[in-house]
Symmetry: C2
Subunit: 116 residues, 2 copies
DNA sequence: CCTGCACAGTATCCATCGGATACTGGTTAC
DNA sequence: GTAACCAGTATCCGATGGATACTGTGCAGG
């Protein structure tokens, strides 16, 4: 099976990198790993995201097959977002990166100060 | 040692996620893992990057302590970019993500088509 | 002499995108 | 009747990314 090449601008792997690279996509995916969540739950969990951007993020991730969107005909309305297998398979790689970020944030901030 | 929390918008871990999330930063870091490179080499290796954006990327990564920039007083000018220990420590996490991207690009494209 | 090339970038312009703020619509509980 | 709940839209603006073109230094070749 042939795989993509991230260094080739013609390779669609680039679009995958864009999605993965999106800060909000990463946070949505990490959040949903604990199980399905509703729109407002996600908004609460992921501090600082605006509804418009969250909607865009969720729609893109749905298109890419990372999650599913299920609407329940209830009142008040309920919409649940659930990771697909593909989405779950991305959790491992991303949590490795998130862990690195959490461990190294101090070091990076120290470096930045030296430049100011 | 306390670590950051990626879900807190006040936590500086967010800025780290932004950097990591940047497509070009990822590609620069993966490229430099093979050893120091010059500006033009990087441009060649990383298809599709414009010089302006590459410069911005390199300057940011330098500020964050991920790489060093060394200017040699030669003719023609030579500038070498080298990963720091911090930068090298990020290679593992990122290559895991890049590997995922290369392996799953087909699946994602298939999902996209179903939405068109 | 002076033209051209190598290298490492700047300069300029424009389209797109992210983010802030405000608003919608159906239902039901008070 | 009016306020709240939920899941979003609508609108506007500044920042950012990308395309294209240009700069400056110094040597090598004709």
């Amino acid at each position: 099976m042939d795989t993509g090449d991230v260094f080739d601008p013609e390779c669609p792997t680039r679009v995958v990198l864009d999605r993965i690279g999106d800060k909000w996509s990463v946070l949505v995916l990490l959040s949903l790993d604990g199980g399905p969540m509703r729109f407002t739950e996600l908004r609460g969990r992921i501090g600082g995201v605006t509804p418009k951007v969250l909607t865009q993020t969720l729609r893109s991730m749905e298109q890419d097959g990372l999650l599913t969107r299920e609407v329940f005909a209830e009142v008040p309305p309920r919409v649940e977002y659930t990771l697909t297998d593909l989405g779950r398979s991305l959790h491992g790689p991303l949590s490795v990166v998130a862990g690195w970020a959490e461990r190294n944030v101090h070091e990076i901030l120290r470096c930045r100060e030296k430049f100011s």
